[in-house]
């Protein structure tokens, strides 16, 4: 059946801010869907509240809205754009839930909008666990025994039937949020209560435990002609009990016989038919008993998912793209397989390699959080690696993770507590695999390890082979190692860095010297990687797509071209502080270079991303971003240039080494990056330019740190150099705290000193992004941070344009930015953080590279800054002509011209962040100098208030327009609170406050009801929150004594969804937002309408 011609405009819903459980895989799927539908001639309208996405680039849709993903917001867009259909299956659970809500609100009917790709009924069956189970039983499939409950009493009745251990899963939550495993009644009660809270419908499913069963997933596609195919099977190495997002997984399945696999395949297809997925892709999860092969169906997602992104990258089959085409009426056999061109998409990819995915955790940011892995997802990103064998892929994946490890151990950096071995094997934990390694080394048998971990012995046997080879390698040094053994080690995935450790290669003058010595020896022996194509067909047909991975085989398939070419280094796994923003920049670097006629070559290892889509760059190397792996690609491709400034710290860490071995790095020279990081050199530069900066120094020991701190005076900000996201950054008020910090931080980054700066209390912070061609500087955007200094800029809301900064200071910042860009020789992007205190503008930090804010600034200004920056790196020149500027390059026949600050499209743009508190129970929710947010949302409006209100909504915080406001601030903040409290009262809010705050406000004539703190009696603030009697909370930290009291309030607020402001600047902004909401102000303008291109 050909595509439908009765549809013209299709609305695609994105997934909103990046949160744990819903990350940039939906940018990848959404981007594919946009491209697929436009390719078919449909008019595509896109809505997403996340400005950091590539899908929201104005070139990818006909009308792009960065607006909150709520029913009223969507209704306005539907009314304006009049779409014929909505595709809700590429925006995660957010989009699916929103589509169901639009249906339930009657909006789809009212505007005559059809849902394509999923039916409301199918979504409901798949999401309502009881209905899903009933359906499975109806078609003869087995499911764990279970029951649902909406109260604790019901839950207790269910668990009497199903027994312990019991799995508790709340309905309608992301990534299993709020669920868990209970081994006893006490845990059961606690988890059920939490789960009922977390579920928006107050429902939990209590389930028979299949802990320790093997876990498999199938990615299934179906078309309207009932053709069904399995795209990929995925085996979870971590058995049932660990969320699949937190599991190490392998594709294809390794431990199934054909009979077992085909049985699962039949079930997968039967599930889609029973749930009623007529077109598109779904993920079906199974548990398999290791002792008798019984298969239980666990769940299914009637949409593309994290696993389908992984499956797409693992197989080369673009699930989201094909799903979009199926949704508009095509059948699988009508669509070609892009990679083989001559065969159709109605087939099942077959792999002649092994794919391993390992999740990336960020527990170092949340030291109080429980690191046990459960059914509630806790990882923030993932890496994927491809090898010809499991061992090779597994080792490549570990070094891809960028956690300071050169692979799966064998690098001298093991931190093992031998006395905890058994516990560490039994309890799933991010470091468990290192304990498996230790267990093998200490002679524990495969059977014993498998019994303790419940990991299938086949995997343990493979790992044992790695450990055995490691033992053999240790008997040699670099001069004596037999070439065959070295080749065997490379085939098993050992990195040069691991080999340098195992062969005891002495460290040289540079930190990379030993690794390069191994590389040198390897090349002398002719041991180089071969590159192979991900071709969907195990080489049965020729592959036309240069999607490549390395191995050590006999034949190379890279077939590099003779074109002018540039390698772009990606940003690796998502983590807090380095996420989708950098993938946006890397993808735009590809677009910008392609426009200049270069062949673009991407290296990256993050399967969730757009940059690793095989049709983003001309050539894709799915490889770890280590020195070794990058140099290997450079050897094969011999690029004209390598771009390192768009992928965050990942490529920057390689800059000096790459330059040292003669790799042509384009853009800002690595030395400038080093200069900006080196406090002494940078301090000297600022002095020379006469630019003020807070007093500062650097230290490599506690004694040095003390000297510096005493010189510049407390409070000081301390942090290791070369980190993103304020990793291990702290504000320190005294010697004792400094000493404590130095002991931890020096361990955090042994190769670089700790930076110490005077902390400017109560300063305002500004963020400036600019591009420079080496001479001409264009300011991209000046952002004013809404939180005061002390909150990491990545966690602070910010606004463009600045709204409270005096013009003279803006002028000063522009001048400093230009001076610094030229002095550093910036070619490309740069970001400067400024602070303003007592009328003085200070430079806090300069980053001569792409920053987290680039996509936000691009959306706010309507200018693709990252593309222009990369063109500068490719020797383009910037020209400014008043408010108009343009970029010129010999390859551009018509330079693109842009207007800065176009009055007719002038709006306020606010970026707000989302924080992962709900994932980590027991963690305090205060903001500080260490970044903790996972993602961001953006709001735009005619006034600051409107923009701020939308940004809050985008991040899931719905500011109230009436009700009770609860105020509790420290003494220092009381005076500043007063006008805010007055405004709230004037808006009709009833004021509640803790005794001190209440007394102060009462003294100043406000009517305030005083309520108890948690430790003062009942009913207290937490009771009020739980009873739904508080609509808004303003709570600034009161100091150490009341710490637990406040933490309880803040956690209750998060659980019950009460908007909470922990800074007064944030509270003041919220008041403006509430004012805007009360007047009903809501303006809509697509990005295309706001383009600054002239």
């Amino acid at each position: 059946m050909p595509k439908r011609t009765d549809l013209h405009t299709i609305l695609i819903i994105g997934s909103g801010p990046i949160v744990i459980g819903q990350a940039c895989e939906f940018d990848y799927s959404g981007t594919q869907a946009c491209k697929a539908l436009r390719e078919e001639g449909y008019r595509v309208v896109l809505v997403n509240s996340n400005p950091a996405t590539i899908m929201t680039d104005p070139s990818l849709a006909d009308a792009t809205y960065i607006e909150p993903l709520t029913v009223p917001s969507l209704e306005r867009i539907i009314a304006r754009e009049k779409p014929d259909a909505i595709l809700p299956t590429v925006g995660g659970q957010t989009a699916l839930n929103l589509a169901v809500a639009l249906h339930e609100a009657g909006i789809l009917d009212r505007y005559g909008v059809e849902l394509i790709g999923a039916s409301v009924e199918a979504v409901r069956i798949a999401e309502d666990r009881q209905r899903f189970k009933d359906k499975m039983i109806e078609i003869g499939l087995q499911v764990p025994r279970s029951g649902t409950a909406t109260t604790l009493e019901e839950a207790l009745a269910v668990v009497n039937q199903t027994g312990f251990p019991a799995i508790i899963r709340p309905s309608f939550t992301l990534g299993g949020e709020g669920g868990g495993i209970a081994y006893n009644m006490e845990e059961f009660r606690a988890i059920v209560e939490r789960g009922l809270d977390a579920s928006p419908v107050s429902q939990v499913l209590i389930e028979e435990s299949v802990l320790g069963w093997k876990e498999f997933e199938l990615e299934v596609m179906r078309d309207r002609n009932d053709n069904g195919v399995i795209i990929c099977s995925i085996e979870n190495i971590d058995p049932m009990g660990v969320h699949t997002g937190d599991s190490i997984t392998v594709a294809p399945a390794m431990t199934l016989t054909d009979r077992e696999y085909q049985r699962m395949r039949d079930m997968g297809l039967a599930v889609l038919r029973a749930v009623g997925v007529e077109t598109g892709g779904s993920n079906v999860q199974f548990a398999v008993s290791p002792t008798d092969g019984r298969i239980y169906v666990i769940e299914m997602n009637p949409r593309v998912s994290r696993s389908s992104a992984l499956a797409s990258k693992a197989t080369g089959f673009p699930i989201a793209k094909i799903a979009a085409k199926l949704a508009v009426g095509y059948t699988l056999d009508e669509l070609p397989n892009d990679i083989t061109r001559e065969t159709p998409a109605s087939f099942e990819p077959t792999l002649d390699y092994v794919v391993v995915k390992i999740p990336r955790f960020t527990f170092e940011k949340f030291p109080q959080a429980d690191q046990t892995l459960t059914t509630s997802m806790k990882s923030v990103g993932e890496v994927m690696a491809i090898g010809r064998t499991f061992a090779e892929a597994f080792q490549k994946a570990w070094r891809s993770l960028e956690q300071g490890r050169a692979g799966w151990g064998a690098d001298g950096r093991d931190v093992i507590e031998p006395e905890r071995l058994r516990e560490r094997l039994i309890t799933p934990h991010p470091d468990r695999m290192f304990y498996v390694r230790y267990a093998l080394q200490s002679g524990m048998s495969v059977e014993q390890i498998s019994t303790l971990t419940r990991i299938d012995p086949w995997f343990i046997c493979q790992l044992e082979q790695i450990v055995n080879l490691e033992g053999r390698l240790r008997a040699f040094d670099l001069a004596t190692i037999p070439p065959d053994l070295l080749r065997q080690a490379k085939r098993m995935g050992f990195s040069d860095a691991q080999l340098a450790h195992l062969l005891r290669v002495p460290s040289g003058p540079q930190r990379w010297s030993a690794e390069l010595a191994v590389r040198q020896r390897r090349l002398e022996l002719g041991i180089r990687p071969t590159y192979h194509r991900v071709d969907t067909c195990a080489a049965e047909f020729p592959a036309y797509t240069p999607y490549l991975y390395s191995s050590y085989e006999s034949e190379d398939e890279a077939e590099p071209t003779n074109r002018k070419k540039v390698i772009i280094l990606g940003s690796g796994p998502n983590r807090i502080g380095q996420g989708i923003e950098f993938d946006y920049c890397c993808s735009h670097a590809v677009f910008g270079l392609r426009a200049l006629g270069y062949e673009t070559i991407m290296i990256n290892c993050n399967p969730e991303t757009v940059s690793t889509d095989y049709d983003t760059a001309d050539r894709l190397y799915f490889e770890p971003l280590t020195l070794e792996d990058v140099l290997n690609v450079v050897d094969v491709e011999k690029p004209d240039g390598v771009i390192i400034q768009f992928g965050g710290q990942t490529p920057l860490k390689l800059a000096q080494a790459l330059e040292a071995v003669g790799v042509p790095i384009w853009g800002t020279p690595p030395d400038a990056i080093d200069l900006a990081e080196d406090r002494d050199r940078f301090g000297a530069l600022l002095k020379e330019l006469n630019i003020p900066a807070p007093e500062h120094g650097s230290a490599t020991s506690w004694e040095e740190a003390l000297t510096v701190a005493r010189r510049i005076g407390y409070p000081v900000v301390v942090r290791p150099s070369y980190v993103l996201g304020g990793r291990a950054m702290a504000i320190v008020y005294d010697d004792a705290a400094l000493e404590r910090y130095m002991r931890e931080a020096v361990a955090a980054s042994p190769e670089h000193p700790v930076l110490i700066d005077r902390f400017l209390e109560d300063a305002f912070e500004m963020d400036v992004d600019a591009i420079c061609d080496g001479e001409t500087v264009v300011i991209a955007g000046i952002m004013e941070q809404i939180e005061l200094a002390g909150v990491h800029s990545g966690d602070s809301a910010c606004v463009i344009p600045t709204y409270m900064v005096a013009e003279e200071h803006v002028v000063t910042m522009r001048r400093y930015t230009e001076q610094l860009a030229r002095a550093l020789g910036v070619v490309g992007l740069m970001n400067i953080q400024y602070a303003m205190k007592d009328g003085v503008v200070y430079v806090l930090e300069v980053n001569p590279r792409a920053s987290r804010t680039v996509p936000f600034v691009a959306k706010a200004t309507g200018i693709p800054w990252a593309q222009l920056a990369v063109q500068c790196a490719a020797s383009a020149k910037l020209f400014c002509d008043g408010q108009i500027f343009y970029v010129n390059h010999p390859a551009l026949t018509n330079p693109r011209r842009y207007r800065l600050a176009v009055p007719s499209i002038q709006r306020f743009h606010v970026k707000e962040v989302v924080l992962p508190w709900s994932r980590f129970s027991g963690v305090d929710t205060l903001l500080g100098p260490e970044m903790k947010s996972t993602g961001e949302g953006m709001g735009s409006g005619a006034t600051f208030g409107e923009a701020f209100a939308k940004a809050q909504m985008a991040c899931g915080s719905h500011l109230p327009t009436s009700g009770n406001a609860f105020l509790s601030v420290n003494d220092r903040d009381k005076a500043t609170l007063l006008p805010i409290a007055r405004d709230l009262a004037a808006l009709g809010f009833k004021l509640l406050a803790t005794s001190g705050t209440a007394a102060y406000l009462q003294q100043h004539g406000l009517e305030v009801k005083s309520i108890y703190k948690v430790n003062e009696g009942r009913p207290n603030a937490v009771d009020y929150i739980k009873n739904g009697e508080i609509a808004l909370i303003v709570n600034t930290p009161l100091g150490k004594t009341s710490f637990f009291d406040e933490a309880a309030i803040r956690r209750a607020a998060i659980t019950y969804g009460v908007p909470t402001l922990t800074t007064l600047s944030g509270a003041a902004a919220a008041v403006q937002a509430i004012q805007a909401l009360r007047t009903g102000q809501w303006t809509l303008m697509s990005l295309q309408e706001r383009s600054a291109e002239v």
Partner: protein
């Protein structure tokens, strides 16, 4: 122990032996299925072939007593990238290497199977020799070139059963119930000509209500008819169909007398019996992911395939309805001749290994037999 694979065009692939010691010549083919090595090894259609698995890890689930397609391994030799001596499966009773050694099958691992596959894909299926003897490449090459090519070889008589036997075992307990469950009663009697018959085919026939009498390939047609069957089945098997002239003659004399169903070689024999022509494909179809369109409904089946020859659709007489087409290369995958109550498919609807999408063909055979009775 070191081993080597030498192809007739002189290309050499070194590796390590994991099967029996010795030397074996055969036609090198590659199979792209990711599961099912035990079924493949024991499928008599692979007689005379050195089978390369493109999936890199082989041996993971060991071997068990339930999955063989015949009583013993049938391949001439086995070629893999990475052999797992350690296996994990609740059904396993031993390692793959044990099985291969027990039956004297040579096997080589640590071969760059992707390079080998790419080579076969471009140069075509060819003879090769696996050796663990340490003989010189020249010697091996000479032996390899001296062996007869697959074209023109009738291997059916090598693999057929010596005596007739009865089969009444269904797929249970190996496969979960079909939507309607396997038939309880065996109401039809089918005579199955064994040219290298797979057990899964027998089980599927039983699932669909058939009691099967398996007869040797050379059984005269009148002997088959004397068993008073409701239908005749022509099995899969190895070698060049055009060389099995005796079987073509048998089939031709049975045509029109009762429902006949053919699979793979049986399909090719039926094509030849109807006056058609078969030809050798460049490197054959061996895998579990081939899309086939069933023309009457337009639906696509993912199929299990294992054949080096195909029937030329243009050579078939008028009245033959083409029913199945391979969507990768548009070759003929099945036809139907209603006038003569016969139909056949080139691929393997019984799976074993592979997807179960085409099980309906067995139901169709049963329906044809039911129609004949009434």
């Amino acid at each position: 122990m070191d081993a080597v694979l030498v192809l007739e065009d002189g290309r050499v692939f070194p590796g390590r032996s994991f099967g029996a010691p010795g030397e074996r010549v055969g036609e090198v083919v590659f199979h792209t299925g990711m599961t099912g090595y035990q079924e493949i090894l024991t499928d008599p259609s692979y007689c005379g072939q050195l089978v390369t698995m493109t999936a890199p890890h082989i041996g993971n689930t060991g071997v068990n007593d339930f999955d063989p397609e015949s009583i013993q391994p049938q391949v001439a030799g086995f070629i893999v990238r990475s052999y797992s001596e350690h296996y994990s499966s609740w059904r396993a009773r031993g390692s793959l290497a044990q099985l291969l050694r027990e039956y004297g099958i040579v096997a080589i691992s640590d071969v760059d199977t992707r390079a080998l596959t790419r080579h076969i894909r471009t140069a075509g299926a060819m003879r090769g020799i696996i050796s663990t003897t340490g003989a010189s490449i020249e010697t091996l090459l000479a032996k390899c070139r001296a062996a007869p090519p697959m074209e023109g070889q009738d291997l059916t008589q090598v693999v057929t059963c010596p005596e007739p036997y009865h089969w009444t075992t269904n797929s249970v307990p190996f496969t979960p119930p079909y939507p309607n469950g396997p038939a309880q009663e065996l109401i039809f009697h089918v005579v199955a000509y064994d040219f290298g018959l797979k057990r899964t085919i027998l089980r599927r026939l039983v699932d669909h209500g058939c009691r099967v009498t398996v007869v040797p390939a050379t059984t005269p047609p009148e002997d088959a008819l004397a068993l008073n069957p409701d239908g005749i089945f022509f099995s899969n098997g190895p070698g060049d169909p055009a060389a099995a002239t005796y079987a073509v003659a048998t089939l031709r004399s049975l045509l029109g007398k009762l429902p006949i169903f053919g699979i793979c070689l049986g399909h090719q024999l039926m094509g030849l019996a109807l006056g058609g022509r078969t030809y050798k494909l460049p490197f054959g179809h061996h895998g579990a992911n081939h899309p086939v369109r069933y023309l009457p409904t337009g639906r696509v089946e993912i199929t299990s395939q294992n054949h080096g020859f195909a029937v030329d659709p243009d050579s078939l007489p008028a009245g033959v309805l083409l029913t199945h087409i391979n969507l990768n290369d548009q070759t003929l995958e099945g036809f139907d001749y209603p006038d003569l109550q016969c139909f056949s498919v080139q691929y393997h609807p019984e799976a074993g290994p592979g997807p179960h999408d085409a099980t309906y063909l067995f139901a169709r055979f049963a329906k044809a037999m039911a129609a004949r009775r009434s």
